[in-house]
């Protein structure tokens, strides 16, 4: 570098340019005042380049940001020790003719006995996942009534069936016999959930009823808090808390011991649409995931101890079901209508970061229900396209990795699980 020259350049004044006579004096004055650079004396307009119309302009990154990205990719590669592979297609597709295209129903349940109970129209079928045998359990006579909610008891001895006409039945599946009918509701039973010998039902009549199925007079408590149909009901794994979601977009958390007084633990109004999808986290006590309907599309993770929302994901699609993965820290959401993304798809999210792991789904129309297998490997999605699709999305099970849920399960079952071939 020529220091003398540099010195001259740095200290010399910038030359004056020719000024044109048609240039407004005041404007020129203003320019000279405002601009730190000399103008050529000509009026000008300034424009900034936005890039080619053909290709989109990528964001400009700085050294460190680029290096951070590279470091993040490297870190991700290092952490991904078990190879996480999401199946591209279904393991199995079952025909489900006359499956009702009704968002609010919960017509599918997979029991610990490896039997899938599914209501198709006026009939209820049992599908044995071990030998794929199909058995029709019941058929409703007359056109105005059909099953709207199906749930296996925890020991899979009893099947609870809720109906359009507000009837609630308990069936013994081994003998294919109706054990008893429970009364109490005045509207269709959209949701049911078992907690030991307590069967909880939620109805279009806006009430939640707890039945003690052992007692002659089964009605233990009736809670009238919701302002609309109770379409989501789930008991926590320990059985101490109940989550109920309503069509008025509210989510209530109840303490089992305090339910008879209709005193809720929390009233959560964050959702902007019906709360049907509910799922309690298997690895963290008192953490609940809830999913909103069409105008909402959000998966919200709650700390039900404090009643606060700890995470929120906008999926931009109607959520009809949520299932936690017991083998990996993930949660799966099933979707119905959407204006933009995720329509008719199943989306897998890593927990707790809630980053999207992937999506799957070949449903031709919206998904209505989700349920998972007793061994926690397979998820079934029931779609309005009258199919039940089986996805082996939750596996492979981590080899004994301190996951107490899996070992408990294996202790419970006397027969081998997951013979879905």
């Amino acid at each position: 570098m020529d220091l003398d020259k540099a010195h001259t350049l740095l200290t010399s004044k910038t030359p004056q340019f020719n000024t044109s006579s048609n240039f407004n004096q005041a404007y020129r004055q203003k320019l000279i005042e405002n601009l730190s650079l000399d103008s050529q004396g000509r009026p000008f307009k300034i424009m900034v380049f936005r890039g080619s119309p053909k290709s989109s302009r990528k964001s400009i990154r700085f050294v460190d940001e680029l290096r951070q990205e590279v470091a993040a990719i490297f870190e991700k590669d290092c952490k991904q020790t078990p190879y996480r592979c999401i199946p591209k297609g279904e393991k199995r597709v079952l025909d489900a003719p006359r499956l009702r295209n009704d968002y609010y129903s919960n017509i599918m349940s997979w029991g610990m006995n490896n039997m899938l109970a599914v209501a198709l129209g006026h009939e209820l079928y049992l599908w044995n996942s071990e030998d794929q045998a199909v058995h029709k359990l019941l058929q409703v006579r007359g056109g105005n009534d059909w099953p709207t909610s199906v749930t296996w008891s925890e020991d899979a001895r009893t099947l609870a069936v809720g109906y359009m006409c507000s009837n609630l039945q308990l069936w013994d599946v081994e003998s294919s016999k109706l054990i008893r009918s429970l009364q109490g509701h005045s509207g269709r039973i959209a949701s049911t959930a078992w907690n030991g010998h307590i069967l909880t039902s939620g109805s279009r009549d806006k009430s939640i009823i707890n039945h003690d199925v052992r007692a002659a007079n089964s009605l233990a408590s009736c809670i009238k808090r919701h302002a609309d149909e109770v379409c989501g009901l789930k008991w926590s794994t320990e059985g101490n808390r109940l989550a109920s979601g309503g069509n008025e977009n509210l989510l209530y958390i109840w303490e089992a011991s305090k339910m008879s007084s209709s005193k809720f633990l929390h009233r959560l109004s964050d959702h902007c649409a019906a709360v049907k999808a509910l799922a309690w986290c298997p690895y963290q006590n008192n953490v609940l995931a809830s999913g909103g309907g069409l105008s909402d599309g959000c998966i919200k993770i709650w700390n039900t101890e404090k009643g606060i929302c700890i995470n929120n994901i906008e999926t931009k699609a109607q959520i009809c079901g949520l299932e936690w993965n017991r083998h990996h820290k993930e949660i799966l959401s099933g979707h119905g209508y959407s204006i933009r993304e995720n329509q008719n798809k199943l989306c897998l999210w890593r927990y707790p970061s809630m980053t999207k792991v992937g999506e799957l789904g070949n449903h031709k129309s919206r998904i209505i229900n989700l349920c998972q297998s007793p061994d926690g490997i397979t998820v079934i999605s029931a779609g309005a396209d009258e199919t039940l699709r089986f996805w082996d999305v939750f596996g492979p099970p981590t080899a004994g990795a301190g996951n107490s849920m899996v070992s408990d399960l294996q202790g419970l079952l006397s027969f081998r699980t997951s013979l879905l071939r």
Binding site: M1, L9, L10, P43, K45, G51, V63, L66, R67
Partner: protein, 214 residues
């Protein structure tokens, strides 16, 4: 350099416009490289102007600059491109803080066009090598500017502004803008080059470094 009779080449308006827009492309790349707006690894060396010039390999930036220079020298939409019509007054490359959008540096390339050539379509004569040497000098200066320009030690983004005559319609890949000025800048004038049709002056203005004694 001692002047000696060199064979002169014919420079046409179109040729001159091509030289200027090409210059701008290389200068932009050089600034991005030298000022560290992009990582060094993302640049590749090519030989140009008798110097090893660095060109970005980042697809996004590459296409951005290519489209920009094409705009200056060949605008199918407008019909007559800015340089040829003598309507381009300056091209300014603005470097801003990504976080605050504050303008940190402004590389100003002012263009003076010989109106005779534009109106009458005459051509000029100048040695190509001479022009190349002039450009080379500017490129060297850009490279050595890092010795006095303050460090850009935060993530930066850049923008390119064009100062044109007011009668130029704004193409849809551009939008009207403010000048993005620096308050109380330091300025350094670099060399200029002249094709005898277009004369390009280079000036860099930068935000006062707090460490400077004033």
């Amino acid at each position: 350099m001692a002047s000696r009779t060199v064979a002169k080449d014919i420079i046409t308006l179109r040729g001159s416009a091509a030289i200027v827009s090409e210059f701008f492309g290389y200068a932009a790349n050089s600034i991005l490289y030298n000022r560290g707006v992009y990582p060094e690894e993302s640049f590749a060396k090519v030989k140009k102007y008798g110097l090893p010039m660095l060109l970005t390999q980042d697809e996004g930036v590459k296409s951005f600059i290519t489209n920009l220079t094409a705009q200056l020298s060949e605008n199918e939409i407008v019909g007559k491109e800015w340089l040829e019509a003598g309507k381009l007054q300056r091209v300014v490359m603005v470097i801003m803080s990504k976080a605050t959008k504050e303008v940190l540096e402004r590389w100003n390339f002012s263009i003076e066009t010989d109106s005779d050539v534009v109106e009458k379509g005459v051509s000029r004569e100048k040695s190509d090598r001479e022009i190349m040497r002039e450009i080379q000098a500017i490129m060297r200066q850009i490279a050595s500017s890092i010795t006095y320009l303050p460090c850009l030690d935060e993530p930066c983004v850049f923008d390119v502004l064009a100062y044109t005559d007011t009668d130029v319609p704004v193409p849809f890949t551009w939008i009207e803008s403010d000048p993005k000025l620096i308050a109380n800048p330091q300025m350094v004038k670099l060399h200029s080059f002249d094709t005898k049709i277009h004369k390009v002056d280079t000036l860099v203005s930068y935000k006062n470094d707090e460490w400077d004694e004033q």
